[in-house]
């Protein structure tokens, strides 16, 4: 196949043509600064407001509770650090999970260095948060629970409703990193008792460099980026108008297509999982079989280096990943796979395939064929596999 097969939509997605089209005028003729007073700029203010409304509606949230940021990581940093600062007088304890994105984990480490205590709750072998542990971890000084909506590596969806209830009963704020879930799952911040929610445009066919943080009215969070009075004095900096417009358009399309797209992707994903697990020996699916994002499949193959598999897939024009895309593009054993109990050597060798609305059955079949070939070849060169086969034939 000469065409590239892109199966890394959890890393980033292609911006939809309609989104690009909606953004373009805001680079050219409608370049005004929304804060200016003349009529010319008010169109920009209106465009920003429309995007905010679209996103608020998508979450059943108040329009004024949506704050635009530069993306998921900024939203996560802001939610955690500003909550810690604002509520330090109540207590200095935060609860999160062991399988959060690094935007959460590293921010927690930063807070730990600054006098806060963080409890990292375990997950079970499917990656689902242990609710009994969460309940036990709560202290009078707990000010925040931050649990991701769905995991970026293994796709497992957390029991967000239950977590929201536990937080509410104990009068603790609840933040969720919904970077992977927003645009793929229905989210109602009121029904789920969510106080803060992070999302990022480029994960749902919007542009990069734009995202938002939902902050429920009444929270005392202060500004994270200091400067002008934009975003109700809570996020300084001239609005990224084209980005915001693109984000709004992408959200609009994502919501309109959510059910149908989810069903289509889930059907292809199930076919992918079925074929891999039946046709490739010593393969396992990571994450919960049913409670997972419709576009996510994550496998481990024993006896091979995940890195070699990825490179060889790349040589066949198949874009896949091991889990999370980080700066260097190099693999450390995944903290998520270690947390669900995989041994070190298997946590090194995983393969994540994440689909989009453009993924076809032909692409999935071709990809499985290639994975089969490559895994067989790598195993034929693997002393570990040789030993295993020898010992098990004896």
């Amino acid at each position: 196949m000469d065409k590239k097969i892109y199966l890394d939509n959890a890393a980033t997605t292609a911006t939809r043509p309609e989104v690009v089209e909606a953004m373009l005028p805001y680079f050219t003729e409608m370049f005004g600064n929304p804060s200016s007073i003349y009529e010319f700029a008010s169109q920009n203010k209106k465009a920003v407001d429309e995007a905010r409304t679209t996103i608020a509606n998508s979450l059943n949230a108040e329009i004024s509770d949506i704050y635009f940021t530069a993306g998921g990581s900024e939203s996560d940093n802001w939610a955690l650090i500003a909550t810690a600062e604002a509520y330090a007088s109540k207590g200095k304890h935060i609860i999160t999970s062991k399988i959060e994105h690094h935007a959460i984990l590293h921010t927690c480490e930063y807070l730990e260095k600054n006098g806060f205590e963080v409890t990292y709750i375990d997950v079970d072998e499917d990656g689902i948060l242990k609710l009994d542990e969460l309940k036990k971890a709560i202290r009078p000084t707990t000010i925040l629970i931050s649990i991701m909506f769905a995991n970026n590596e293994i796709g497992t969806i957390q029991p967000i409703k239950e977590i929201g209830e536990i937080a509410r009963e104990n009068n603790i704020l609840f933040h969720t990193d919904a970077v992977q879930a927003y645009g793929q799952l229905n989210i109602d911040v009121n029904a789920l008792n969510i106080d803060m929610l992070s999302a990022s445009g480029h994960k749902f066919n919007g542009p990069k460099g734009i995202g938002f943080l939902y902050i429920r009215k009444g929270l005392k969070l202060k500004s994270f980026i200091h400067g002008g009075g934009q975003e109700r004095h809570r996020r300084a900096g001239t609005e990224n108008v084209p980005g915001i417009v693109g984000l709004g358009k992408a959200a609009e399309i994502a919501m309109a297509t959510l059910e149908e797209r989810g069903q289509k992707e889930a059907a292809l994903r199930d076919m992918l999982i079925q074929r891999v697990l039946t046709e490739i020996p010593y393969a396992r699916l990571n994450g919960h079989r049913a409670k997972r994002l419709p576009n996510n499949a994550n496998f481990s193959f024993q006896f091979i280096e995940g890195e070699s598999l990825l490179i060889m897939l790349d040589m066949q024009n198949i874009c896949a990943s091991s889990g999370s895309a980080c700066t260097s593009g190099s693999l450390d054993p995944s903290h998520v796979l270690l947390a669900i109990g995989l041994p070190h050597e298997i946590a090194h060798g995983s393969l994540r395939l994440t689909l989009s609305h453009n993924t076809t059955e032909e692409e999935i079949n071709y990809t499985v064929d290639k994975i089969k070939e490559i895994v067989a070849k790598l195993r034929s060169m693997s002393p570990l596999y040789e030993d295993y086969v020898k010992n098990n034939l004896r």
């Binding site: 280096e305 070699s308 490179i311 790349d314 593009g329 693999l331 450390d332 060169m381």
Partner: protein, 361 residues
């Protein structure tokens, strides 16, 4: 016919970048790879010079690979590097030896793990920017030949490679002088053409080996006695990991004349001190042998031996005195023969083999 695939270990520095360029020009299907081996985030934030495998190495190497239009990947060898290089380095120091971690990295990380993974992805060779030449001799064996510029020669750190490893290795830079390599880099507009050479041990950027070993192993380093060769106690030392054979500075001993470390005795936690002339010796024993140009050493052989990276080499006679032990007798006494360092034997420009210098028994 399909082009032969070669994986070039790229540091973003001038040598490996030009190596990739030369191989591409020679018609190979070149894949650039940077090995990720030890960084943690704090180190990345502090990083200044980079070394061969730092995070800035990744950025630089990727830029070069883009310029050369070759595919580029980062491969993670942190586990292998920790096991084969960092653990080994710390253990040897605790035993009172002075190891050379670059040799271990070459043998076990670059030419074992990187080679394995390169063969896995369909390559036939790995290549590096080392100043050395891989040659095949009339007896059918592969060996290394010193680089065209003696001053830059890096065969010392590569003496431990096996025949299999050498058969799958290309070192295109060895044919050129450093100036020629810099010139080529300039001609092809590589931005890194003036990057300084890396020298130090990459995982100890602050060069404080003792601090690294205490933090890395968690071992408590005990003070002990400075003694004369006759066993007379002449002072207190800070712990054996702070010393290396031949060392003069930092001993804090007022003897009225310059004194040097002659030996380190881990069993009794003693550091032996003596005069300048006592640092010289004309004999050493080496183990962990690897022969290159010959299959094994039979009888006696007169060779030039290098006892450390910066040593010029000195004439000596070698013979085996055990299954894995060579005795090496120099014509002239050598300064500071240091257990743990490698001794490498040369026949003219060719590597005969080498081993690790053993402590006197």
């Amino acid at each position: 016919m399909e082009k032969k695939k070669v994986v070039v270990g790229m540091s973003g520095g001038v040598d490996s970048s030009v190596a990739a360029y030369l191989l591409k020009k020679a018609g190979y299907d070149v894949i650039g790879v940077t090995m990720q081996i030890w960084q943690d985030e704090d180190a990345a934030a502090q990083e200044e010079s980079g070394g061969c495998c730092g995070l800035s190495a990744v950025d630089d190497a990727r830029r070069v690979a883009n310029a050369l239009e070759i595919p580029y990947y980062v491969m993670n060898f942190k586990r292998e590097f920790k096991g084969s290089v960092m653990d080994y380095f710390a253990e040897e120091y605790l035993k009172g030896n002075t190891p050379n971690p670059c040799i271990a990295c070459n043998r076990y990380v670059k030419w074992e793990s990187l080679l394995k993974r390169s063969l896995d992805i369909g390559a036939e060779y790995i290549a590096t920017g080392h100043y050395a030449r891989v040659v095949r001799l009339e007896n059918g064996r592969y060996t290394l030949m010193k680089s065209a510029t003696a001053a830059k020669d890096q065969t010392y750190a590569l003496y431990n490679l096996t025949q299999y490893q050498l058969a799958h290795t290309l070192m295109p830079v060895g044919e050129y002088t450093k100036d020629e390599i810099r010139e080529i880099a300039k001609d092809i507009n590589l931005r890194i053409a003036n990057k300084p050479d890396s020298q130090e041990i990459c995982f100890i950027p602050d060069k404080d080996y003792a601090k690294f070993i205490t933090e890395y192993t968690g071992e408590e380093v005990k003070e002990g006695n400075f003694v004369t060769p006759e066993g007379k106690v002449i002072g207190k030392h800070k712990g054996i990991i702070h010393y290396t054979v031949g060392q003069r500075k930092g001993l804090n001993l007022a003897m009225g004349h310059p004194v040097f470390v002659l030996a380190i005795r881990p069993d009794t936690n003693e550091v032996v001190i003596g005069n300048a002339d006592e640092v010289y010796s004309n004999k050493l024993y080496a183990g962990n042998l690897n022969f290159m140009s010959i299959e094994d050493l039979e009888g006696e052989m007169v060779v030039d031996a290098k006892i450390r990276y910066s040593h010029k080499g000195s004439k000596c006679t070698i013979r085996k005195v055990g299954e894995d032990k060579v005795e090496c007798v120099f014509e002239e006494p050598q300064r500071a023969i240091t257990p743990g360092q490698a001794v490498v034997f040369y026949d003219g420009d060719y590597v005969v083999g080498g081993g690790t210098i053993l402590r006197d028994e």
